[in-house]
Amino acid sequence: MKARIHVFYKDGVFDPQGNTVEESLKKMGFSRIKNLRIGRVIDLEIDYPSKEEAKREVTKMCEKLLANPVIESFKHEIMET
């Protein structure tokens, strides 16, 4: 089994990196864009007896270390391999 975790700044937390990249794209002529946000993707291989248990454990990993709940939100997907 594999897990893919996405961590982003929460809505409302200003992302200066995303903002700068968005400005660059606009200067390059990609004018029909907005709200560019840069986050982090974490991939890992996992070994749990069920997908449900994997979801619970990966959620705990996110809450305890991989995301900072003060400023970040996360989502994850569990993939059978």
Partner: protein
């Protein structure tokens, strides 16, 4: 006054803090290693110094906040022990939950290394009790991720409990309400982005004022 200075892999201000406290006098200094879990009950002060603990991997301070010694530091703080986190140490305090809020990339995206002015917002803390409220300190900053973020609701709590200790006069990193340093509700845990240990000789000696305040506070206790 038994003082422990914690070294994490990537800490680089631990010796500066040691030197500054030694020259200030009155502190009995011990270096502590992040993997150890020493009994801290006879300590008066624990310092989490600046640097780039664990290479700033994941988020600044995130890994250090979960290292073995931090369990002991959290216990020590919850019993009322004095803990100061400087720069990366401040990030570790936020990541460990000892202080509210979080520190994110500077608004400018630049690493900022310069002398700045901060206003001391309150004298009602162990860290500032001999410094006049509303006075200015000249202290250096050196960080890429010092933008302090806190929700408006939690900020109102900080104000109500007089937890904001230092504010920037010229907000260099875009911190919420110019916050440069704050303490917990009980005032025994203090985190700040500026480096008092780098302002203890030559250009500015204002960092020593924080150590002097601390000595005065600990002197009153013993």
């Amino acid at each position: 006054m038994k003082t422990g200075i914690v070294t994490f892999p990537g800490s680089n201000c631990d010796d500066d803090v040691y030197d500054s406290l030694m020259r200030s006098g009155g502190f009995e200094l011990t270096k502590l290693w992040h993997k150890d879990t020493p009994e801290l009950s006879d300590y008066k002060l624990i310092v989490l110094p600046g640097g780039f603990s664990y290479g700033d991997y994941l988020r600044c301070g995130a890994m250090a906040a979960r290292s073995p010694i931090m369990e002991k530091v959290i216990e020590f703080a919850k019993r009322g022990g004095l803990v100061i986190g400087i720069c990366n140490g401040f990030q570790i305090l936020c990541e460990s939950g000892l202080l509210p809020g979080a520190l994110a990339r500077n608004l400018s995206l630049n690493f900022i290394c310069k002398d700045i002015k901060v206003t001391v917002e309150t004298s009602k803390t162990p860290w500032t009790q001999t410094i006049e409220a509303r006075s200015t300190l000249n202290l250096p900053i050196a960080h890429g991720e010092g933008r302090y973020i806190i929700s408006e609701e939690d900020y109102q709590e900080l104000i109500k409990n007089e937890q904001v200790v230092l504010t920037y006069q010229d907000n260099p990193n875009g911190s919420t309400h110019q916050i440069a340093g704050l303490c917990n509700k009980e005032k025994n845990v203090f985190g700040l982005m500026p480096h008092p240990e780098r302002a203890s000789d030559l250009r500015s000696k204002d960092g020593l004022k924080i150590w002097q305040s601390l000595k005065s506070f600990l002197g009153q206790q013993s």
